[in-house]
Amino acid sequence: MSPMPAETDRVRDLAVPAVLSPAAVDAFDASLDRLVAGSPDEVVLSCNLDYITSSHIGLMWQASRACADAGIRLRLGSPSAGLLRVLHTLDLCQFFAIGADDPDDSAVAPRSASADRGDDTVVYEHVFHASAESVDCAIKRFVGFLEALGLPESLRFELRTVFYEVAYNIYLHSGLAPDADISVRGDAAPHGLRLTFSDAGVPFDPTRAHTVSTFIDVARDRQKRGLGLPMLGKLTDRMTYTRTDQGRNVLSLDKTWGDSSD
């Protein structure tokens, strides 16, 4: 393993936070934006993590994409054996240069994400705020997770839309303060994803609300708004809602698909 280089104008360090509080994630986003704007030759992503969640992987993926888009080499610094095992299991090693010093190593650039997932469920967890900025960041991070799963574009587009519609619906209609938390968990299996959102906003059961007959009727009625819930009904296979004793809305959305590996 190569030692981590001293930070210079051309080589900059960026640390993945161990504890992923909203503030820590926002700070990571801001640091990444600043680094990329500075156009260094290389960013070394420090990953001294005792435990690794899908959200950590999501941050790493986000950094990988941002650097690749800006033509900046990204390298993992001091990855733990556990992290390397996780990257190997997810078939993501190819997307990160690990301890290499060869500037021509093209492993930094994300290529077609065709991770051959096993039968294990991959868990995605993230907590974000009920503000437009935080929701937008959460969507961006979720898109990175979908890309890491290697799903086809059309399916990623559907799942991104589902995430967007739910997250924005909570943000706009839950009555939550901008610094209130919204949590999301994704359980990705080889042929399906369950997304579960939880928030402490006003009680709302969307499974009882989507009553549009068809979208063509919507057009004939010249209806321009209120299509989010019927769209969710079309884009998912099942929605379930509970209001917990702790006063939280818990909405789960299931989406299944065929074999995407062929």
Binding site: A132, E153, S154, R156, F157, E158, R160, T161, Y164, E165, Y168, L172, T214, F215, I216, V218, A219, R220, R222, Q223, K224, R225, G226, L227, G228, P230, M231, K234, L235
Partner: protein, 118 residues
């Protein structure tokens, strides 16, 4: 970071081109509605919406188009969508809208489609 620019350009007496930005969602769907309704008020029978840059279409974006298309059709015209990405096309397919909306591959086909109906 959001490029939500919605631009309008007149192609001929009957047809106007509206170019979508890279998202059409809660943040800018009302701008698309305004652009379409202004073109309708100006008497354009055909509105071509070029989606070549559109990477994301939310329910608000779908509503902007669905809620306005019948006005053009009642006037003997239409709203024609062109240059859709695979993702946008896919979502419209899932919503059972590809046969209802007029969707063509590119601008040339869109213009000729409008000309043929004039």
């Amino acid at each position: 970071m959001t490029d939500s620019n919605i631009n309008r350009r007149t192609l001929n007496d009957d047809t106007v081109l509206i170019t979508a930005g890279w998202t059409l969602d809660n943040n800018n769907a009302h701008e698309m509605v305004d652009a379409i309704m202004l073109a309708q008020a100006d008497g354009y029978k055909f509105i071509i919406i070029d989606m070549r840059d559109l990477e994301f279409l939310s329910s608000a974006g779908v509503g902007a188009i669905l809620g306005t298309v019948e006005t053009n059709r009642e006037a003997g015209g239409d709203i024609v969508l062109c240059n859709l990405s695979e993702g946008v096309q896919h979502v419209l397919t899932v919503l059972d809208l590809v046969d209802y909306l007029t969707i063509v591959p590119n601008m040339d086909v869109a213009v000729s489609r409008c000309t043929a109906k004039t």
